[in-house]
């Protein structure tokens, strides 16, 4: 019982850790690009959001898994 709760928490936390670091690096790169070339800032923003969405998939999958674990408590 207790292990399931710990597992649900860990799944969410670790996934959030990884996705947070990844999105930080991505935003860093996008900001650098925008400051170097402000003319194409709009295009960079669109692509940045798309890439962030693809990264977020991992987080959302682990969120679904955490809910499945939670329902077993």
């Amino acid at each position: 019982m207790g292990l399931i709760a710990i597992g649900a928490g860990l799944a969410m936390g670790l996934a959030a850790l990884g996705v947070g670091i990844g999105q930080g690096i991505l935003a860093n790169g996008a900001m650098h690009g925008m400051s170097r070339q402000p003319e194409i800032a709009g295009k960079i923003t669109g692509n940045m959001i798309l890439a962030m969405a693809i990264m977020e998939t991992a987080l959302v999958l682990s969120f679904v898994i955490a809910i499945m674990l939670y329902s077993k408590l």
Binding site: G46, I49, L50, A53, E56, T57, L59, V60, L61, F63, V64, I67, Y70, S71
Partner: protein
């Protein structure tokens, strides 16, 4: 409190006996929302004039944005062809995601709805890719640049609807759970000193702004743009240098056969 043991929405209508045929909350809201959007769309598009004014300006901005968006992602001719589908998808998704604003359960916080939408996108992508390239061309495209990579590409094509459905569902459902938890905390706190759950009314507005206004727009945009990007990728065929390489190889084989004969 939301029941986590079942992720689906409430069932509100039963047909017949035994309870096997039923209608859920999200199905009803879906149909109502679609009817409202269709009526508003027909009203916006009626009585067009040469010089736009009033409601026509709104309609023109919306339609112009959608066509621009489709043509940026799909190219000029294909963009015009697919703009109506992408436009109705994004408009419906924005409103379906932000239904929490009026206190209802968002339609897309239901795995059945998002899975149906994802299957729709998947069928559209595969259908038009095969219609455009033929079965042989589609296999060639999936085996680009080497045929050894074909199974991996097939798996990544099959996984697309799963991730599309789960991303939309997870984001909207997570937002709904956070808002619900906050409401219950505020109710608990306000019962400490008052008989009316007074704290619930104002404190939830920042959460609503994020989870019911900002997030729905972003998620609808992401769903639509992923559909558009994958559609473009599926319909574009194999790369030019790969096609050239394969043509040369085939010619070499042909000449070898001629020499041997």
């Amino acid at each position: 409190m939301i029941q986590f043991s079942e992720l689906g929405p409430r069932i509100i209508l039963y047909f017949g006996s035994g309870g096997k045929v039923f209608l859920t909350e999200s199905t009803c809201f879906e149909i109502i929302l679609a009817v409202i959007l269709a009526v508003v769309g027909i009203w916006l598009g009626s009585g067009l004039e040469k010089v736009p004014r009033g409601k026509q300006i709104v309609a023109e901005v919306l339609v112009g944005w959608v066509y621009n968006f489709a043509q940026q992602n799909l190219g000029k001719i294909r963009g015009e062809k697919f703009a109506p589908y992408l436009g109705s998808l994004i408009v419906w998704l924005v409103f379906a995601n932000s239904l929490g604003l009026i206190g209802l359960r968002p339609i897309t916080a239901d795995l059945n709805v998002t899975a149906a939408l994802a299957v729709m996108s998947f069928v559209l992508i595969q259908g038009f890719a095969i219609k455009e390239l033929g079965v042989r061309g589609r296999i060639d495209e999936l085996g680009d640049p080497y045929y050894a990579i074909l199974p991996m590409n097939v798996i990544s094509e099959l996984i697309l609807p799963v991730t599309l459905a789960l991303r939309l569902f997870g984001n909207i459902f997570g937002g709904m759970v956070v808002v619900d938890l906050w409401m219950h905390l505020m109710e608990f706190l306000s019962y400490k000193f008052c008989a009316v759950p007074i704290l619930r009314c104002i404190t939830v507005i920042p959460l609503n702004l994020f989870f019911d206004m900002f997030e729905p727009v972003i998620q609808a945009y992401i769903f639509t743009i992923l559909t558009a990007v994958n559609l473009e990728e599926g319909m574009s065929g194999m790369r030019e240098d790969t096609a050239e390489k394969r043509r040369l190889k085939r010619e070499k084989k042909k000449q070898k056969l001629i020499k041997e004969a």
